[in-house]
Symmetry: C2
Subunit: 112 residues, 2 copies
DNA sequence: TGAATATATAATGATATAGTTATATAACTG
DNA sequence: CAGTTATATAACTATATCATTATATATTCA
């Protein structure tokens, strides 16, 4: 079972978000993922470990390589949490609409 | 302009997520937000500062009180970033569908 | 088999974070 | 105005995080 602390914490790092963005275009090995960054290979390996621990990526073994890919489940879980905020904001807008509607109605009553 | 590092980092803390969940039900003052937590008031004040700095909440001044509410813009920005991953995953599923479709077609060809 | 490649782990140092207590500031309240 | 309420800030401590270098492990290849 994954953990929102770990997941959001993983997303808080720009290198890790860039890695996810790269993986959005398809699977990639550690070296491929490391290439664009001005950072050592061990540093990237640890970022991948964090992403995997957060349930945001998965890896397979292919000889000496470990191709990584996005993990739908982890991303979905984050999405589910954010859905709560989205709904709340939508509800707030609805309420605002009601207030505006009520104001309009009152105006109409005042000047029929 | 807000910052995804700061925003995701803010969401990585369970206390702060709980505060946002509370604010999803409507505005609340600092004391109201602090009440459910086994934590001092200064600690909560700092969490709110982090959330505000991340663009996730906004505050107004009402006498000695500072009611907080959700900030749609910040939440929307996070959502926009995640949209990229959602699309990538959707695209991956589509590709998988195509592969499955191709396999089915081949089977049909083999046994017409 | 021995060198090269791909990746992981350990030790270390620097910086950030979350909590605490103590205290400051501002606004209500009698 | 004096006391209380609402919130913020500062100083401090403990723990976590990110990067580095050095090194280990497993795989491929000539």
């Amino acid at each position: 079972m994954m953990n929102l602390d770990t997941a959001f914490s993983a997303l808080a790092d720009p290198t890790r978000r860039a890695i996810l963005a790269r993986l959005a275009t398809g699977e990639a090995t550690v070296m491929e993922l490391a290439a664009p960054f001005d950072m050592t290979q061990p540093a990237v390996s640890r970022h991948l470990k964090v992403l995997e621990g957060a349930g945001l990526i998965a890896r397979r073994v292919e000889g000496a390589k470990r191709p990584c890919r996005l993990a739908p489940a982890g991303i979905a879980e984050i999405d589910r949490w954010l859905e709560m905020l989205r709904q709340a904001l939508a509800a707030n807008y609805d309420r605002l609409d009601q207030v505006i509607a009520a104001m309009t109605t009152n105006e109409n009553k005042r000047t029929p």
